[in-house]
Symmetry: C2
Subunit: 442 residues, 2 copies
C-alpha cells in the first residue's frame, strides 16, 4: 500500500557543485599503541574541496584510505552539478549508488572502515561550509545555533613508544612545542602515563582525561587509572577505553575495581550483548564508539540497554545534521552523546567544534587526538586550547581555509610514505615480530 | 560527574528579532463531527509575525486559544532581541521559563492542548521563514533540501451536519466553490460520506481517503468504510480515525473487519498499552497522533510496539527541525511518519508542504483540513491541489506573505465570535442537549 515517490532534485543554482578535488594526505603521527597495534609514522586523511559555480569553496577532512578515496572518486559524477542545499537528495543518491551499508562493514578494528558514511560526511561538511559562506553564517548556526561558545575536550592519553612520528614533521605550534618532550617520550607504564597526562593537561588545560587502553593486560591499565587518580585527585574525571578487547568477565572484574574512579568506561567489551551484560553488572556508565556505531544498531542498543553514552563521530554517522538527529535520539532515550576522534587536523576539529557548540546537551568533554598531531593544513595554523576548550569560530562556514602549500607538502608526504590504508598490525609487527590483532584478547 | 555548561546566546545581529505581533483569528469552519463533539462555526488560529532589526518579516500559524495566546505574550520578552538562527538556545530559554511540559498536559481531547510546544513551533517556523528570506532559500532547503516537488495529501472526510460554518465566510477559491454543495451538505451515514468523498476527490484530486470516526457506533463507521471501498475500489487507500474512542476489544472486533480495507487504522484506542494490544491482534498498520505525541513518549512506544506510523504535526512536536529529527527516529526504528492536521490556513499548509518535501521517507499522503476552510490570510490566496498534491513553493522562506486586510477581517471575526478556546463539547450540546465527551465510548 506504500506508494513510492521518486527523488528528483531541483535544478541547480549558483550553488551547484562545479569542481570536486580529492587530496589524500599523510600527517605526522607518533607511535601510539592501541588494541589494533601501533600507529604508523603517518596517519592518512583525505581532504575534499568542493567549488560551486559561483566560486565558493567548501572543505572537509575524513579518515583516508585507498578504498575510501576510490569510492569518493566514483561518487564524483553523482555529486557534480548538485545544489549544496540538497543534502537529503545527495544522501539518497549515494545510498542508491553504493547500496545501504550494513553496520558489519565497520570491521573489527578500533577504527571504522565503512565507505558510504565517510563519503557522505565529506560531502555534507563541505556543503555546510559552502552554505555557511553563502549565507554569512558559521556552521553552528546552520545546526540551530550556539549553545556554548567554547567546546570542552579531554586529554587523550596513549601508551606509546619513544618518538613523535613522521620524518617531515615540524612543531610550529607553541602548544605542541610546550609538551614536545612528553609527546616524544615513551609511556609504557603508569608512571609514564602520569607524566604524559601532566604535560598534556598543563599545556592544553584539559580538565578530563581519557586513557586509550586495550594495550596491556587489564591489571596494568587499571594501575594506570589508579595512578592518574592519585596524581590528579577526584576533581578530574577519568575514562578508560580498552577498545572492546576484554571478555565480559574481565570487564566486570576490572571495571568493578574502577567504578569509583571512572567518569565512564568506554567499549570494555565487543558487541551490544556483552556491553549490556557489563552494564547490568556495573554502576559506572558505559560509552561506545564500537558497539553502537550506526542508526541501524540503535534499536538493539535500546532494547538491550547496552550503553549510557554514544561517542558519535560526524565522519561516520553521516555528517553534522545526522549527528544532531543522533543527539535527539540520545536525549529521547535518556542517553548522553559525546564525541570520538581519530588522528586529525583542524578541518575536522572545526567541524567537531561547530557540532559540539550546537548540541542541546553536552555533559562530557569530547575526545580529540589533535595534540598528538603537529601538522596543519589550514591557513590560520593550529587551533589553541584554552582550559582544554576550543572557542567556536564565528566566521562564515567552518571558518577555516586550506593552506595550499601545506596541502601540497602533506600530499607529498602521502605519496612518499607509500601508505595506502591504516594498518596498525603491520606497524606493530615491525616492533614485535609475529604480533597479531585479536578482537578479544583478555 | 556531568558538568553543566551554561547557555549563552551570541550577540544579536541584523537578524535579531525586533518586533513580535500575535494576532488571534477566527476562520470559518463547518459543523464537522468528531469524538470531541462538533466544530464551532469558527476555528481559532493564532498568527505570529516576527520582524528583525533589518526589517525581514517571518510568519507562522498555530492552533489558537486564550491560554496559548497568553503564554505567547509572556514569552515575548524572552524571544525579543534573539538572533533568528539561535533556535536551540531559544528552545532552551522557553523550556527554562515554562518548565518542561509533560505529555499528560496534552489532554484527553482529540486536539493537543500543550502550550510550550505550540509557542516554540510558532517561533521556530517564523524564524525559519526569516532565515529562508535572508538566505534566499525556501524553507525546504533549510531542512536538507527537496526530496519531492509535490507533496501528496489525503481527502479528509467528516460526518457533519448541514452547513458550511461561519457568518462571514466567502468562497473565492474555485476549488472550494467546486465542491461547495457537498461541503454544505450533511453527511450522517455511509451514503452521505461517499457523496462527500466523491465531490472532494473530484475537486482536489486526492488519491487516498481518511474518514474521521469516533462519531457513531463502530458498526456505522465500518459500514462507511465498506461503502467507500465499494465506491472507490481497492486502488484508493482508505483510513479510519476513531480518535481513541474504542475499547481494545471493540478495536480488535471492528478493526478485524477492516483489515483488508484499510491502509491504516488511526488511534482506534486510548493509550500506548491499548494500541500495543490491538497491534498485536491485527495485521493492519496502526497510526497515531493521540497515543504517542511527544519525544518523551517514544521510548515506551518502542518498548511496547504500540504503532507503525506516527502522524507528526510540527505545531506540537516542536517545529520543523524537530519533525526532521522525529523522522530519523521513525526511520531508525522501522516506523513510518506522516502528518496530522487541524483546521488551518495557508501558512500552516506552506510549512507542512516544506516539511513534507524534505522528509527522506514519505510513504503516506498527509492529512489536511484545508478543503474545509474557505478563508485565507495570505496574499497569494488559497493553495490549489493538483491530483491531491501541493507543489512546493520555491520562493525564499515559507513563500507566503500576510494579507493584512484578510488578517484584520479574521481578527474581527475572532473578536466578534466571542470564542476563546476550542470547545466542541459545548457546541455539540447546542444540537444534542446534555451531550458529554467521553474519552472511551464504545
Amino acid at each position: 500500500m506504500h506508494r513510492k515517490t521518486q527523488t528528483r532534485l531541483p535544478d541547480t543554482t549558483g550553488l551547484a557543485i562545479r569542481d570536486i578535488t580529492i587530496t589524500p594526505i599523510a600527517i605526522v603521527d607518533p607511535p601510539l599503541l592501541n588494541a589494533g597495534g601501533l600507529h604508523a609514522p603517518y596517519a592518512l586523511r583525505t581532504i575534499v574541496e568542493l567549488v560551486t559555480e559561483d566560486n565558493i569553496t567548501g572543505i572537509s577532512e575524513i579518515p583516508g584510505n585507498d578504498g575510501i578515496n576510490a569510492a569518493l572518486e566514483s561518487a564524483r559524477d553523482l555529486v557534480a552539478g548538485r545544489d549544496v542545499f540538497q543534502l537529503n537528495g545527495i544522501r539518497r543518491i549515494l545510498e542508491d549508488h553504493f547500496g545501504k551499508e550494513s553496520a558489519s562493514q565497520r570491521g573489527d578494528a578500533p577504527w571504522d572502515q565503512r565507505k558510504l558514511i565517510h563519503i557522505f560526511s565529506a560531502i555534507e561538511v563541505a556543503c555546510m561550509d559552502i552554505i555557511g559562506k553563502a549565507t554569512g553564517r558559521p556552521v553552528v548556526d546552520l545546526l540551530g545555533g550556539m549553545m556554548r561558545e567554547r567546546v570542552p575536550f579531554a586529554a587523550y592519553l596513549f601508551y606509546k613508544y619513544e618518538g613523535a612520528g613522521g620524518k617531515l614533521g615540524f612543531d610550529t605550534d607553541p602548544q605542541v612545542r610546550g609538551w614536545a618532550a612528553a609527546r616524544q617520550a615513551a609511556a609504557l607504564d603508569p608512571d609514564g602515563i602520569v607524566d604524559q597526562a601532566r604535560s598534556m593537561c598543563e599545556t592544553f588545560g584539559f580538565q578530563s582525561i581519557k586513557l586509550k587502553g586495550g594495550v596491556f593486560e587489564p591489571g596494568v591499565e587499571v594501575d594506570s587509572i589508579v595512578a592518574l587518580r592519585k596524581a590528579f585527585g577526584p576533581g578530574v574525571p577519568l575514562r578508560l577505553d580498552p577498545n572492546a578487547l576484554w571478555k565480559a568477565e574481565t570487564a566486570i572484574e576490572h571495571g568493578g575495581k574502577l567504578e569509583s574512579l571512572l567518569e565512564y568506561l568506554e567499549d570494555p567489551v565487543r558487541g551490544q550483548e556483552n556491553m549490556a551484560k557489563v552494564r547490568e553488572a556495573l554502576s559506572v556508565p558505559l560509552a561506545t564508539n564500537m558497539c553502537t556505531t550506526s542508526f541501524e544498531e540503535i534499536p538493539q542498543s535500546i532494547a538491550l540497554g547496552s550503553e549510557d553514552i554514544i561517542l558519535s563521530d560526524h565522519h561516520f554517522w553521516g555528517g553534522l545534521r545526522a549527528s544532531m538527529e543522533l543527539s535527539r535520539i540520545c536525549e529521547t532515550f535518556g542517553r548522553d552523546l559525546s564525541m570520538h576522534s581519530n588522528s586529525h587536523l583542524g578541518i575536522s576539529l572545526a567541524a567537531m567544534v561547530h557540532l559540539g557548540a550546537a548540541l542541546p546537551q553536552l555533559s562530557y568533554a569530547l575526545d580529540t587526538h589533535y595534540p598528538w598531531q603537529s601538522d596543519e593544513v589550514i591557513t590560520r595554523g593550529r587551533f589553541s586550547f584554552d582550559d582544554g576548550a576550543v572557542e567556536v569560530l564565528r566566521e562564515p562556514g567552518l571558518g577555516v581555509e586550506l593552506d595550499r602549500d601545506a596541502l601540497a607538502r602533506l600530499h607529498r608526504n602521502y605519496l612518499e610514505s607509500g601508505l595506502t590504508r591504516r594498518d596498525d598490525e603491520t606497524e606493530m609487527q615491525k616492533v614485535v615480530p609475529g604480533w597479531k590483532f585479536e578482537p578479544v584478547r583478555w
